[in-house]
């Protein structure tokens, strides 16, 4: 018994299909509890007023946006090393979800920034890095779409994911350097991460993070199974022709 058994597409589908509704159900209940708790039953921050409630969407989405790319990186590595098709397809399945998470993080950040910083957008290191991350997602998905042969596409996107990860980290530090370089002395009010949040806000935030994580898991499982089926259709049709 090893984890690699699930690399068999049939076994993967058979195991995960019954799991998906459960994971989805738990994640949605977590999200409902967390968001309702956060929205209705937490006090306003004394400085940010009610906009502090946006944190329950913004932070989990940002967290998952980065973790989705990380998961794609690992899946790509597994594909390159062990050639399990499910792994490559899981990376493909995760990309659109990661992109949506990035968009949510950017949008909620902009909406929060408008009343708090007085601007929708600042070329703050974190914001800029997320914009770059969004571009990476776009490029990755475009490459998947562009190549017809599925194994070639899986290989090339994996290589892109590896190189892209290195450059994404590099960009993160470059952007930090760049902004400090231009705006010496001014401190851009970066969103207070969960470190500095008091328990009243933190517990519902934690519930939301769990909800987002499970939602990501459920969607990836579902979409991976979809991709496996799509590939099987292609193979069967090719054989029948």
């Amino acid at each position: 018994m090893s984890i690699w058994e699930y690399a068999n597409p049939k076994k993967f589908i058979a195991t995960t299909t019954p799991l998906v509704p459960w994971v989805m159900g738990i994640s949605i209940s977590c999200l409902v509890v967390g968001l309702v708790w956060g929205f209705f039953f937490t006090p306003d921050d004394f400085r940010q007023g009610s906009t502090v409630k946006i944190i329950y969407l913004h932070v989990p989405a940002a967290l998952m946006a980065i973790n989705a790319w990380f998961m794609m990186l690992i899946a790509s590595l597994i594909w390159l090393v062990r050639r399990h098709h499910v792994s490559a397809l899981a990376a493909r399945a995760a990309a659109p979800i990661g992109m949506v998470m990035t968009v949510i993080a950017l949008i909620t950040g902009a909406i929060w920034g408008q009343p708090m910083w007085g601007t929708w957008w600042a070329w703050d290191p974190r914001l800029t890095s997320f914009l770059i991350l969004f571009l990476f997602y776009l490029g990755y998905m475009a490459l998947w779409e562009a190549i017809e042969d599925s194994d070639t596409a899986a290989d090339l996107t994996s290589v892109l994911c590896l190189v892209g990860s290195v450059f994404a980290v590099l960009s993160r530090y470059a952007v930090q350097f760049w902004n400090q370089g231009l705006h010496q002395g001014t401190s851009v009010p970066v969103a207070t991460g969960e470190r500095s949040v008091s328990d009243v806000f933190f517990v519902p935030l934690l519930v939301c993070m769990v909800g987002f994580g499970l939602l990501f898991l459920a969607l990836v499982l579902m979409r991976t199974a979809t991709e496996v089926r799509a590939r099987r259709i292609k193979a069967l049709e090719a054989r029948m022709r």
């Binding site: 571009l135 475009a142 562009a146 892109l160 450059f167 960009s171 952007v175 350097f177 760049w178 370089g181």
Partner: protein
């Protein structure tokens, strides 16, 4: 390897596109900027470092799809793949050839265009140095992008989408070095970072590019 380099250079010169097209594009972008933002010297002085770098980046991007596309079409790429030369060597040479035909001339004319944009006199040295150190990285990263998309029909647009985000760190550090030079500060730190990116991409990206090429030739 030297023979391949010579062949690529000769082809680029004969085709005429190599030197001329990228350079003219560079010039046109620089000339267009004052039309867009107005002719005031102070504004131009302020944005000159960034504009020159962005223009250089776009000019380098323009000729990337020629790196492998022609060889792929006429079938000399599989021939190169079966030659005793390792694929990593081929991609390295391709990157160097691209730099000699675009990056090097860009670097050499950049100071002239700096005059057009009223670049601070103190920044010219930094501009020359940062472009000389940074454009090789642009060529090598571009070679990787070209290797990824060589099998895609009309892959030029896709390649831009893939390559431009990878150019971000080089652009930031390169432009920052010039901007610091223009402000009379010491631009050595970003300059060294540019050099680091260039060296690292020459050390690692030929492997990634050759892996992508092998996959595409399979």
């Amino acid at each position: 390897m030297i023979a391949l380099l010579k062949r690529d250079l000769v082809l680029a010169v004969r085709a005429g596109g190599g030197f001329g097209l990228g350079l003219s594009f560079f010039l046109i972008v620089i000339v267009l900027v004052p039309f867009g933002v107005g002719p005031e010297a102070e504004i131009l002085t302020r944005i000159a470092p960034g504009i020159v770098w962005v223009a250089a980046l776009l000019a380098a991007l323009l000729s990337l799809d020629r790196i492998f596309a022609l060889d792929f079409e006429d079938g000399s790429l599989p021939l190169l793949a079966t030659s005793p030369l390792p694929m990593e060597g081929v991609t390295l040479i391709k990157g160097i050839a691209h730099w000699i035909t675009t990056g090097l001339p860009l670097t050499l004319v950049a100071p002239v265009l700096g005059f057009l944009l009223h670049l601070e006199p103190s920044a010219f040295g930094w501009l020359l140095a940062s472009l000389a150190l940074g454009t090789p990285a642009l060529s090598m990263i571009g070679t990787f992008g070209a290797a990824l998309t060589v099998g895609v029909r009309r892959g030029g647009l896709l390649m831009s989408l893939l390559v431009l985000p990878l150019y971000v760190p080089t652009l930031i550090f390169g432009a920052e070095a010039v901007a610091r030079g223009a402000a009379g500060l010491d631009g050595l730190t970003p300059l060294l970072m540019v050099a680091v990116i260039t060296l690292a991409s020459f050390a690692l990206l030929p492997f990634a590019a050759s892996a992508a090429l092998k996959i595409n030739l399979r």
